[in-house]
């Protein structure tokens, strides 16, 4: 549904996007991740036809975004990063305007506006002036605007920026409901968001793809297998030496806390589950244990790792 071939963008002497290629099949939600300045917004702007690429091409639902611009744009619902809106317009007025620009007839427009205002939770503020709305509500208007023409492809640039936690989960819910009906490219740097709703993740840094795959697969490929965190009532050095001797332990970090407690983070060699041997080690030393938990590797660690490698490499 979204095909990107060898996309390159130079801003004067700066290379913003470096030979990017990817495919997104129909009905998938793909998370588009990367640190600030990685080229996410530039890539999105080329996909939506706002900026022409220096070379390479992008095809949306079979239409080249430059050569068949009007057809391609009809297929795309786009929520830009800062949600720019006409502040002097009323919500329903704005939605009518966007519908008209999409070439929708009046009856269809009315029906679609009913639908998107309900879906985006705008019924109560339909007749309010956009300039008087809160940031979260403006974001909903932006989302409603992107959905008005039932686009096959939805491109959302940081859709939850400026939301409070409840609203974030509402938007996540909404995106989840849209799944299947639309192919969604979701740019964000909020990782939990992607871990929960995306089928697939593309991570870019320095204008290149550095990783692609399902969130779970990417998490698995993180070198560290997670860690075990323990809190033991004993001297820090004693804990460090004792735990280091356990089979399969790669690294032990200790930290002295008040009232004689020691906080230890134990990382394992790949594939080892250390909870049982660590428990035995604590028991054999007859230490008091107040906490032991297993910390799974997160996409966040992967993200930091991969983007750090990238910056070091360049």
């Amino acid at each position: 549904m979204i095909e990107v071939q060898d996309l390159v963008k130079w801003y004067g002497p700066t290379l913003a996007v470096d030979h990017l290629s990817f495919d997104i099949p129909q009905g998938k939600i793909v998370g588009f991740l990367g640190p600030n300045g990685a080229g996410k917004t530039t890539t999105i702007r080329m996909l939506t036809g706002y900026l022409p690429p220096t070379s390479g091409r992008a095809v949306i639902a079979g239409f080249d975004v430059l050569k068949q611009a009007d057809d391609a744009r009809r297929m795309i619902g786009y929520l830009p990063e800062t949600t720019p809106l006409y502040l002097e317009m009323r919500v329903d007025e704005y939605l009518h305007y966007r519908g008209k620009l999409q070439g929708m007839k009046r009856t269809l427009r009315k029906q679609r506006i009913e639908d998107v205002t309900e879906r985006c939770g705008l019924e109560k503020i339909k007749t309010r002036v956009i300039g008087h709305l809160s940031r979260g509500n403006r974001q909903r208007v932006g989302l409603a605007q992107a959905l008005i023409h039932e686009p096959k492809v939805l491109i959302l640039d940081e859709p939850t920026a400026g939301f409070d936690p409840t609203q974030v989960s509402q938007v996540r819910q909404l995106i989840h409901e849209l799944k299947g009906k639309h192919t969604i490219l979701l740019s964000t740097h909020i990782l939990p968001e992607v871990e929960q709703i995306a089928d697939d993740v593309i991570i870019i840094a320095g204008g290149k793809i550095v990783a692609r795959g399902a969130p779970a697969a990417l998490r698995k490929s993180v070198g560290t297998q997670g860690a075990v965190v323990l809190e033991i009532k004993a001297a820090a050095e004693a804990v460090s030496t004792a735990l280091s001797q356990v089979n399969g332990v790669k690294n032990v970090q200790v930290q002295t806390q008040s009232e004689g407690w020691t906080h230890a983070v134990v990382t394992a060699n790949a594939g080892e589950d250390l909870r049982e041997p660590l428990g035995k080690a604590v028991a054999s030393n007859q230490w008091t244990l107040r906490e032991m938990r297993h910390e799974a590797a997160t996409l966040e660690q992967f993200f930091i790792q991969i983007t750090a490698q990238q910056t070091r490499g360049t």
Binding site: G49, A69, D70, P84, L85, M89, E93, L101, Q102, G103
Partner: protein, 240 residues
């Protein structure tokens, strides 16, 4: 065409929603009426010609005040991005915005004028020929100024710069040409040629009520030229 009109309609509504609109309308109505009453006395001719002569000057500031935000504001607020990613092209955007501003300008111009014409009709027996051509001339001058204004507006995201740039270009085609034509080094033929590209010179014919095709050609081609340049400037955004 539909999309052009959609953009024009939005532009017109948003002009009426901005406070600047009412300030310009108020100032313009005050200006024209004051000028009118200077010449409105017993024994004077029942004509709007002297009023129109002054209004042409007022338009140098009125038109840029209307046009300055047309495109600049889209750039400043970022709304250019959703606009240019909708299925519309640069020509539709520029043309739509110009039409919206032009309709608004006609309303602002005609509102006080119709009242003044009514006043003349009520107190005397005016000659409607020159009044009609004079108004038509003002409308064309305004249309040209707005085209210059939208060109300047597409070139910058700062409304003030857009305003000043417009006034500057208009001044070249009015005041500057007028003085150059009077300079000693300019030959007679040259002076006549300069008179033809001078907006005030062209307006003169409308005020007198003597119209030829060339007057219309001048204004229509001027409007088309600046609208075309505005489209090109807006397109250039993509290649910068």
């Amino acid at each position: 065409m539909n999309r052009t009109l959609t953009i024009a309609q939005r532009e017109l509504t948003s002009l009426f929603f901005s406070p600047i609109a009412y300030v310009t309308l108020g100032l313009f109505a005050l200006g024209t009426t004051s000028i009118f009453f200077i010449y409105f006395a017993p024994g004077e001719q029942a004509t709007l010609r002297p009023t129109f002569q002054w209004v042409v000057w007022l338009l140098i500031f009125l038109a840029p005040a209307i046009s300055m935000r047309l495109v600049s504001e889209e750039f400043r607020s970022g709304t250019i991005e959703p606009l240019m990613t909708a299925p519309v092209n640069e020509t539709q955007v520029i043309l739509g915005k110009w039409i919206g501003a032009f309709v608004y300008f006609c309303i602002i111009l005609l509102a006080p004028m119709l009242i003044l014409i009514g006043l003349l009709e009520f107190t005397s027996d005016p000659d409607y020929g020159p009044i009609f051509t004079g108004l038509l001339g003002l409308i064309l001058v305004g249309g040209l100024y707005l085209a210059i204004g939208i060109f300047a507006s597409a070139a910058t995201k700062d409304q003030i710069i857009s305003f000043l740039f417009t006034v500057f270009i208009i001044s070249i085609f009015t005041i500057a040409l007028h003085f150059i034509a009077q300079a000693s080094f300019v030959s007679n033929d040259m002076a006549r040629a300069l008179y033809f590209v001078n907006i005030f010179g062209q307006y003169e014919d409308f005020a007198k009520g003597v119209l030829t095709l060339s007057n219309f050609v001048f204004f229509f081609s001027g409007i088309a030229l600046f609208l075309f340049m505005a489209v090109k400037v807006l397109e250039s955004r993509r290649w910068r």
